[in-house]
């Protein structure tokens, strides 16, 4: 009989191998799914793992979509390490897009002349503040009223989406936009400069790489980061040491809200150049998967973000080239997280073969 046996210590190697194992299992299930759908499994898989990486254009698109995913995920990593269950990064992302995009729209409609090096940072900073403000509602209700942050942060996603809808269907609608729910296109001075010519990849990608380093230092080389993690791992020990759980709660939510807001503002002032009801294609939710697959580690989140970005692009390619439904991406994302959690069992347990005990003859 196969049995699970507790390891004396959690396995470090397994903790790194588990995401790879989960990915391998996802690929196997994906291949089976392609066969069931009557498609060539190799061609199907190549849409996800080969095609996005073959051209410069493909690579820049992978980097472009990885940027918001990684930004949201490193913020969530801080939250989850502090045992604060913010699952509303999607809403904080939308508020970042609304506030950042709002500033860009104001500059556009009022014809404010300002150089790009001055205006773009203002737009991004506004996005950060928007995301932080939205997350602070969750923090406040948790802090003052003990309201469950999972449910509050999630409910706020729906509220944020309706707020965005109201703005782009109502007061912010472009009068010359043929009644489409969208704002004016932002003026060039508010937009993010391109990083690679002839592509949509903007400097936000470079900023994201820098922030991955900053978050690594914050989590693993700073006193505040250490306090935060002790509070998550051992609340009693943290209390005994005098680390404030309230500070940890506010820090975690403001940091993750700010990162999600930054990602939202980048999306508005980057590839989109305007606000529409579909600013986010679920980046805030996908980032939760990125965060877990990346082992709640900023560098891990970077790799996981690139992987999940390939999933997103693979889904689009599968739709346009093989006629597969784009929703397939969501299936693979969910499967990956599910399988990852199952594989994580192997960090704390090992599988042992126990010969069935011989029964005495009755």
């Amino acid at each position: 009989m196969l049995r699970l046996e507790a390891r004396p210590q959690p396995s470090r190697a397994m903790s790194l191998a588990s995401p790879l194992l989960a990915l391998a299992l996802t690929v196997v299930i994906a291949a089976i799914l392609f066969v069931v759908l009557g498609k060539d499994p190799l061609r199907g898989l190549s849409m996800f793992f080969v095609e996005p990486l073959r051209t410069v254009r493909g690579l820049t698109e992978v980097a472009l979509k990885a940027t918001p995913l990684v930004l949201c995920a490193i913020g969530l990593a801080v939250c989850y390490r502090a045992n604060v269950w913010n699952i509303g990064a999607e809403g904080q992302f939308l508020l970042g897009a609304i506030v950042g995009g709002g500033v860009a729209l104001y500059v556009t409609t009022h014809g404010i002349a300002a150089p790009q090096w001055a205006m773009t940072p203002v737009v991004l900073a506004a996005g950060v503040l928007g995301g932080m403000a939205w997350a602070s509602i969750t923090a406040l209700l948790r802090d003052r009223f003990n309201a469950n942050e999972i449910l509050v942060s999630l409910m706020l996603v729906y509220v944020a989406q309706q707020l965005l809808n109201w703005l782009v269907f109502g007061p912010w609608k472009d009068p010359a936009g043929f009644n489409f729910p969208q704002t004016k296109t932002f003026v060039a001075s508010t937009l993010l400069p391109n990083l690679v010519p002839q592509s949509r990849l903007h400097v936000g990608f470079a900023l994201m790489l820098v922030l991955v380093g900053v978050f690594w230092a914050f989590l693993f080389r700073s006193w505040r980061g250490f306090q935060l993690q002790v509070g998550g791992l051992a609340p009693d020990a943290a209390r005994y040491a005098g680390f404030s759980s309230r500070t940890a709660l506010w820090t975690a939510l403001l940091v993750s809200g700010g990162m999600a807001g930054l990602a939202g503002a980048m999306e508005a002032a980057g590839p989109l150049r305007q606000l529409t009801p579909h600013v986010s294609t679920g980046y805030g939710f996908t980032a939760i998967i990125v965060c877990f697959v990346g082992r709640l580690h900023p560098v891990g989140c970077l790799f996981a973000g690139i992987l999940l970005s390939m999933f997103l692009i693979g889904g689009e390619l599968g739709q346009s080239r093989l006629g597969l439904p784009n929703a397939l991406t969501g299936v693979f994302q969910g499967l990956l997280l599910f399988l990852l959690l199952a594989c994580d069992t192997l960090i704390h347990y090992r599988v042992r073969w126990h010969p069935a005990p011989r029964r005495a003859a009755a």
Binding site: Y158, A327, L335, F338
Partner: protein
Amino acid sequence: MNEIALLIAATIAAGTPLVLAGLGLLINEKAGVLNLGAEGMMLVAAIAGFAAAFHSGNQWIAFGAGAAAGMILAAGFGVLVIWLNTNQYATGLALSLFGFGFSAFVGVEYVGKKLGEHVQYAVPFLADLPFLGPALFKQHPLAYVAMALAAALAWFLYRSRQGLVLRSIGESPDSAHSLGYGVRWIRLAAVVAGGALCGVAGAFLSVVYAPLWVEGLTAGRGWIALALTPFATWRPARVLLGAYLFGGVTMLQFSLQGAGVQIASQFLSMLPYLATIVVLALISRNPAWIRINMPASLGKPFHPSS
């Protein structure tokens, strides 16, 4: 007068899926398991139910398909959290994300499809009563099943021996284990039962309430159902009350619009979510109140130390 009767009827209809899902999650939580995958289970059940109704033309087959879909997903979740001791928050979240993706994937072919004729239901004789008839007695049969279920669950939890065992497992799995109860199997049974009810709720949404399929049809109702259990301080009758309260808030947006109130529809659509947040904040304000009522082992893994 007649409008009020119709508003009450609409409130009950909107509250029914919340009653079903809320009671299902109550069973889970009474056994000590928190399933954040409610939204995902409801979505997959909604498309399973819709597809079954579309091909069979029979609502009851659709509810069965929804229940089966909910049970399968709940069983998967249960094995992970009960035997492999994975984090209940993360696993439930994974189930919700998976359910969203999977239902959207399966549902692609069913977007824009229509189900057969909408049947009008009426309880004989009672439906002819003035006011009370249109308000209470013209509901889908499942609305009455949901009400009866709340009563049955209250009896089961507080008046039957099995209910006592279930609650003891939620309060103190170690004591229940030492008395010889199979904590893990009973928890799994509770999780699967909860999945079945969430499944019926999802199928009700897509087959009776909507009745159509769109991506993300449940629109957060699984999460609202999760908020119902602390709101109800884990009591079945109060789940019923809370569900109708939220159903009423959902209906309020339509009646306000109908009354010509000059508010953008988007703000009215926010109401159910804002109401959930406000109610959660009010109900959680007193930590002691929650602590007394919440099953003591909720969300905590159980390791049998035999």
